[in-house]
């Protein structure tokens, strides 16, 4: 069972996320969209979308950076004060994101008339997974103290063993149940990524910062994208 949950399942999730993601981007580009429902409902979206996006983005980045640079993360967390500050920041962000998520869930409930008509089953599934994932994350942070430290010694070696195609699950299988649920759900969300609106995550238009303002496309000149009016 552990072999399936911590070796086979992560691999399946990652391969599908990348493979289907690329296939969808190239062959089904029309389906790539943030699928915003702001036009239909504005007020609740403000209280939901802003906390959720900022909160979860920063938390995800922290998870990702710590996994990429465990040595550096370990040194930063080494001091007691620094550990305390970072853990407090993390948990505040988690509550911030959780608040946004709850607003977003309320906003999508079948009783709120308009938005429900721009809601798919997948949106419901996503919101459910997010709720459990953030809730387990928050309770781990509170009850399984100094997660940012033991994360570096348990989950990170496991990630890297997966990356190196030499899976080693010993560091994670003995962890408390709630932690293992959090790990598996994380990969479940990765699995959902190519099949849901989550694809908008990789489409973040960072290129906007440097692309020319005006876009002119010529058909006769073999569809060359030209940007003569350079107005930065």
């Amino acid at each position: 069972m552990d072999g399936f949950l911590f070796i086979a399942f992560p691999y399946v999730a990652l391969i599908l996320a990348i493979g289907v993601g690329i296939y969808r981007r190239r062959r089904r580009p029309y389906t790539y969209s943030s699928l915003s429902s702001q036009l239909l409902e504005n007020r609740k979206l403000f209280w939901g979308s802003v906390p959720w996006h900022y909160g979860i983005t920063l938390i995800l980045l922290a998870h990702l950076l710590a996994a990429l640079f465990p040595g550096l993360a370990g040194r930063i967390l080494g001091g007691r004060i620094r550990l305390l500050v970072l853990e407090l920041t993390g948990i505040s962000l988690a509550f911030y994101a959780l608040f946004g998520l709850i607003v977003l869930i309320i906003r999508r409930l079948p009783t709120t008339s308009r938005v429900r008509h721009a809601t798919s089953y997948m949106d419901g599934i996503l919101l459910g997974f997010f709720l459990i994932q953030v809730a387990t994350g928050v309770s781990i942070a509170i009850f399984e103290r100094w997660g940012s430290l033991w994360y570096l010694r348990t989950a990170v070696p496991w990630f890297w063993s997966l990356v190196k195609l030499h899976p080693e699950t010993a560091t994670v299988t003995s962890l408390p149940g709630i932690v293992r649920v959090h790990f598996v759900l994380g990969f479940a969300i990765i699995l959902l990524f190519p099949f849901s609106r989550l694809v908008h995550l990789v489409m973040f238009p960072i290129k906007y910062l440097w692309r020319p303002y005006q876009v002119v496309i010529w058909n006769r000149r073999t569809r060359k994208v030209e940007s003569t009016e350079v107005m930065q």
Binding site: Y30, Y208, N219, R220, E229
Partner: protein
């Protein structure tokens, strides 16, 4: 100099009867799908009024278009980083309530109602939720200034040029005056929707200047909706993509006039190609408010000038397109006659839809003696106009009243001249004198009269050859598409999960 062609439009507002046929032609052709029910790529507004979406002209609220900061053009919406920061919640997006909630009626009730004491009625239901709804607003709720003076009184242009007392007088029943303003996408030379799109999904076609949203690239970030000061990009809540007027390019490519123009009952619409200097776009859009209209006229090039023709051909413009530019009715109204003006040039997008401002509401002032026509000064009616010139100037010339007066003088002089000619109750010498004062000539007025009143279909819509067959041949063998799939969507445009 970099010569480019732009398919452009002129709407002659004196001829608009406000019948909304254009809107319906467009709606039936393009926006009858789920998610587009509320969209009117073509709409007709009553002016003064708040328009559709409500108060879209108030850029302090919606932040559309460009502003000049230290001589540099900036999106009023904000800097690029600001836009990315606001991407999960766009604080300047109009919501459905700013447009209206689209509805239909439950017609089944009429057939299926059981026996009863009352006639069955078809109840209004929302086209989004399918539930019963109270109809409280529509896209032209204030049509003909009907129902309530609130809409007209809140017109941002009117508030700008009149104080409360003047506005109170303006809305006295005997004084009441209005006209219609049909609007489609302006297919601007400096489009702010293109500039605001984080993905770069909106583009201007090089060959004809039509502004389009790539449905495959669009990610639904909604910044174009806010970026366009005319609010002519709409968000499809079903597909999660932005959509806008496509100037019926599939029709243009097959030599047909756009549906709104083809169906226009008042024959107010003209379409033709203009040659312009693309190197001067930024310079022109950066002029001070008062010089914008003149500068935009300046960058439109004379298609009869041999030097320009030479440059145009060198820049890859087809000979047939140059020919079309020479016959373009838009060139005549905009550049040769100076009669057509852009709508809100101060938003600096260089809109390529031009309007001949309406003369009728201006001059039909009734006095105690009845209709007053010619006093010692031919144009005295302009000063005592019911629809103040400064209101027109705030719409069509960034506040420059002289520019609007010049248009009106020419229109009035033409009217006086034709009256002298056909009715004869005005001496011809006086009519000629009026022409001189309006800086026009008999020949010019005759030409204006012909194109305004007598033009045939072919004169009103001079559609340049779009040469798509040439374009396709460059990239692929056209036979590849035969009996296969056509050149459009490969998949059905179905909403993503």
């Amino acid at each position: 100099m970099n010569v480019r062609a732009q398919v452009s439009m002129v709407f002659h507002l004196d001829k608009c009867i406000g019948c909304h046929t254009c809107s319906l032609a467009c709606k039936n052709l393009w926006t009858d799908r789920p998610g587009t029910e509320y969209m009117w790529w073509n709409n007709v507004e009553t002016k003064p009024g708040t328009g559709y979406p409500t108060l879209y002209e108030d850029q302090e609220q919606y932040r559309g278009g460009w502003v000049l900061e230290d001589g540099k053009l900036r999106l009023k919406l904000g800097s690029r980083p600001t836009e990315l920061v606001n991407i999960s919640f766009n604080p300047r997006l109009p919501t459905l309530d700013d447009y209206y909630e689209p509805w239909t009626y439950r017609y089944k009730d009429l057939i299926e109602a059981g026996p009863g004491d009352d006639q069955p009625v078809a109840k209004p239901i929302s086209m989004i939720t399918g539930e019963d709804m109270e109809i409280e607003a529509g896209p032209n709720w204030d049509d003909d200034l009907s129902g309530s003076p609130i809409y007209a009184a809140n017109d941002p242009n009117l508030r700008k040029v009149m104080n409360d007392e003047e506005r109170r007088q303006f809305f006295e029943l005997q004084q009441l005056v209005y006209f219609y303003l049909p609007r489609i996408c302006n297919h601007c030379l400096n489009p702010s929707c293109v500039a605001a799109c984080p993905t770069g999904a909106i583009y201007k076609r090089g060959e004809d200047g039509i502004v389009l949203v790539s449905q495959e690239k669009c990610q639904g970030w909604r910044m174009c909706v806010s970026g366009c000061p005319y609010k002519k990009v709409y968000f499809n809540w079903n597909s999660g993509k932005a959509e806008k007027c496509i100037l019926c390019y599939p029709r243009l490519e097959t030599g047909q006039a756009p549906a709104c123009m083809h169906s226009c009952v008042g024959k107010i619409r003209y379409l033709g190609v203009l040659l312009y200097d693309a190197d001067r776009i930024e310079e022109t859009a950066s002029k001070p408010d008062q010089e914008l209209v003149e500068a935009q006229r300046d960058m439109i090039l004379d298609p009869f000038n041999p030097e320009i023709i030479h440059r145009a051909l060198a820049d890859g413009i087809d000979r047939k397109v140059v020919d079309a530019a020479q016959r373009s009715p838009v060139y005549k109204y905009v550049k040769a006659w100076h009669l057509a003006l852009p709508f809100h040039p101060e938003w600096r997008t260089l809109p390529m839809l031009f309007y001949v401002p309406p003369l009728l509401p201006v001059t039909t002032t009734l006095t105690a003696q009845g209709h007053h026509e010619l006093e010692s000064n031919f144009f005295s009616s302009l000063e005592s106009a019911r629809m103040p010139i400064r209101y027109m100037a705030s719409l069509f010339s960034a506040g420059d009243e002289d520019m609007v007066i010049a248009v009106y003088k020419k229109l009035l002089a033409g009217r006086i001249f034709k009256r002298a000619q056909t009715v004869g109750d005005v001496p011809m010498e006086r009519a000629v004198q009026a022409l001189e004062e309006a800086r026009s000539t008999e020949q010019e007025v005759e030409d204006i009269y012909r194109l305004t009143a007598l033009a045939s279909f072919e004169e009103m819509f001079v559609i340049p050859p779009m040469l798509r067959e040439v374009a396709i041949e460059m990239g692929v063998d056209p036979h590849e598409f035969q009996e296969e799939r056509g050149a459009g969507f490969v998949q059905l445009p179905a909403r993503g999960l």
